[in-house]
Amino acid sequence: MATTASTAQERAAELNVLARKQRSLWGDALYRLMRNKAAVGGLIVIVTAFLVAALAPLIAPYSPIEIPQNPASQMEPLWTGSKYTDPRYLLGTDFLGRDIVSRLIYASRISMIVGFVPTAIVFGLGVTVGMTAGFFGGWLDQALMRFTDIIYAFPDFLFLLIIVASFRNSPFGKLLDGLLLIFVAIAIVGWVGVARLTRGQVLALKEREFVEAARSVGATPRRIMAKHLLPNALAPLIVTAAFAVPGAILGEATLSFLGVGIIPPTPSWGQMINEGFPLFAANPWAVLLPAICISVVMLAFTFVGDGLRDALDPRMKT
């Protein structure tokens, strides 16, 4: 395919004639995304965070949860030059004497998992339901709409909070240090929005000619949905997913900050803020460092999300 493309371009140049550009939809989007410096920077940060999370046991200097024998608690980071530093701990220690670097590294695992796993669930469930509702219409569609209206009436995070707070003392809530409950809560709150979005896309695409064409050739509804509707509805879904991940990360961080998220001693950035906050004035960096980590990761995802949206926006196509 590439050779025909380039020869066509050459012929066009010869004839001084305007030839249409050859790039496909996805190739074009990828090209545009790569040209967006902020998005590329964000991707690098995300990949780095991923690697740090994956390699945590290898790179963390100390254990994140063990309390050392003679704890040197509330040490400041080395570069502050204060008298409360310990050369063993680059970024200082928390109120129990645990190394902050190690805790930050292990906390990145929580963030990465919380970002991607619930998002995957949300999309798997939301897209399936939304597509079915949009395609078949009828009572399923009506029911979905009523249901989403109700969920929309709840402020997102507060619903999350209610679910988590209600069940955190139950055996289910204690699984995986509370992680499983957080997954489920995020999934419950999030799938509805995705379902609605997908439904909207399907409704718009359903009437287009290529669907009619597929139907007239005898394609089954499942085939139509999978091969025709889904690829075309994909672009806004991808952008939504790109923003859903940081949303989930933020949800967990906020829950942990309020004390109902990850169960200590497992570290998460929000959890570290929660623990360090009472001692903020005396030991600010124990709070600032995880705050910075959250900010950087959130910004990275936002840049990528924005970049994806710009890259996939057909209006910008010339």
Binding site: I150, A153, L158, F280
Partner: protein, 296 residues
């Protein structure tokens, strides 16, 4: 609206009931005697079957009786009555501040695209909408309270107390509104009628103010309602952080303590605001855009 509120109440109620644990076992070391628990259950009506409790609750709500807080031993209406004005004040202040900053910023940044002002406002918009409010609060406190000793960290009452919570709460809304304003202005300026206006010989200033702004502000105005609702329902983080005695802080406390009456009442209140805000969108559209008539 009523059916939606009904379901909101139902779901919240179900969740609260399904949650293990009760508000009475606050102190695991000294659990209350069983007869005390029975007495409390009778007092709060918790010994009746679940569906009866729900119906009882609904009938009381219709009479504006929201019950008694299990934890605080005071009527819920009192608690809400004390907390809500604070939250409302915080929310309104934040909204006004956000509008005052974001609208001019959005307009100017659209008119001066790709200049320092534009990049600055885009940066502000990105940071403001991305970084969570409690993280922002942390940075602010470090710089302004701990570093410069300008403002107190917690509490409410004096203007100094109000500055940081208001500013941080406004930040998110301002960033969001600035972004929308800018996008809307850019969209409006591209329209054909702007070219027509220029072709009549009008000065650029007249074109912008007389023709573009009115169109550009419509999407922004419709979004103010939901933004306000977002401020009111989202203030809980700021309130918890800065110990502001508003309804948000109460709400978080009640959820953590499983104080059902307060949870129910506040959830309904929040849901009510959100629904009203969403309805306001269409209403505002109808008022501002002559192309859309709102059926009464």
């Amino acid at each position: 609206m009523i059916p939606t509120l009904f379901f909101v109440a139902l779901i919240t109620f179900a969740l609260a009931k399904a949650a293990p644990g009760s508000p009475f076992d606050r102190n695991p070391d000294k659990p209350p005697r069983q007869e005390t628990i029975d007495r409390w259950n009778r007092f709060y009506g918790l010994d009746k079957p679940v569906h009866e409790q729900f119906i009882l609750y609904l009938t009381n709500v219709a009479k504006f009786d929201f019950g008694i807080s299990v934890v605080r031993q005071r009527p819920v209406s009192d608690i809400i009555g004390n907390g809500f004005p604070v939250t409302a004040q915080l929310g309104i202040q934040a909204l006004l501040l956000a509008l005052a900053v974001s609208l001019p910023l959005g307009v100017i940044s659209a008119l001066r695209q790709n200049t320092m002002v534009d990049y600055g406002s885009l940066f502000f918009a990105t940071v403001g909408t991305t970084i969570p409010s409690f993280v922002m609060a942390i940075f602010f406190i470090y710089i302004f309270a701990l570093g410069l000793h300008l403002f107190p960290i917690t509490g409410w009452g004096t203007p100094q107390h109000m500055v940081m919570p208001t500013v941080i709460l406004a930040l998110g809304a301002a960033a969001f509104l600035a972004r929308i304003t800018r996008a809307s202005m850019l969209e409006a300026i591209r329209q054909d009628y702007v070219r027509t206006a220029r072709s009549k010989g009008l000065r650029e200033q007249v074109v912008i103010v007389g023709h573009v702004l009115k169109n550009a502000m419509i999407p922004v105005a419709t979004v103010v309602g939901p933004a306000a609702a977002g401020l009111i329902t989202g203030s809980f983080i700021i309130e918890t952080f800065f110990s502001v005695p508003g309804i948000g802080r109460e709400y978080v406390r009640s959820i953590l303590a499983l104080d059902y009456p307060v949870i129910m009442a506040t959830t309904l209140l929040y849901a009510f605001f959100i629904i009203v805000a969403n309805l306001s969108v269409d209403l505002v559209y109808g008022m501002l855009d002559p192309r859309i008539k709102v059926a009464k």
